[in-house]
Amino acid sequence: MFSLSESGIDPARLRRELESPSAGAVVCFEGRVRDHNDGRAVRGLSYEAYADLALAEGQRIVEEAARRFAVQRIACVHRVGDLALGEMAVWVGVSAGHRAEAFDACRYVIDEVKARVPIWKREHYVDGASGWLHP
């Protein structure tokens, strides 16, 4: 399940949705707002999403991961709007019978989300400037 959130991500709540009696392994990834990027001091950032397409593409990625890897549950949430330093920008959680699949599926989801989901980051720098990141 892929979703967008306009407010703070609650990993404990999301984590509970991965519960399964046959899940021997859970792997979670958190992406957070760092205090620097490419040598510039960052004071915060904003994410803008093309929401309809982001939700559809995020869900496709989750379903791809579920087909490729022997996992039980997958959840991914991406923030939109303004984030302060240290806030969670994205969370991915995977439960599986065994750890290899949990790691691989979690990595797949975050890699593909970053590559494909129409979300854009604007960094706000300590020096007052800001800019969109378009890799």
Binding site: G31, E48, Y50, D52, V113, K114, W120, H134
Partner: protein
């Protein structure tokens, strides 16, 4: 034809708006982008962008229909 255009991130900044309706003779996404880029001064070449039509990714040669919603998407930077 009448199209609805959506702009995100740097293209939104360059266009000075997040959406607009346009009347255009362009019949595919690439022709429409070329026309719109000239009007708003977009400097991104289409190879750097992706295009979506009616909420789904599409090819640049995708024929457009009256009333379609088109978005030109800068390289994404989520996560």
């Amino acid at each position: 034809m009448n199209y609805r255009l959506l702009y995100f991130a740097s293209l939104c900044d360059a266009a000075g708006r997040s959406r607009e309706s346009v009347a255009s003779d362009a019949r595919d996404a690439l022709a429409l982008y070329t026309e719109i880029a000239a009007r708003h001064g977009f400097t991104s070449r289409p190879e750097r962008l992706r295009v979506a039509v009616n909420g789904e990714f599409a090819e640049w040669n995708r024929p457009l229909a009256d009333g379609d919603e088109i978005a030109f998407l800068p390289p994404v930077s989520g996560g």
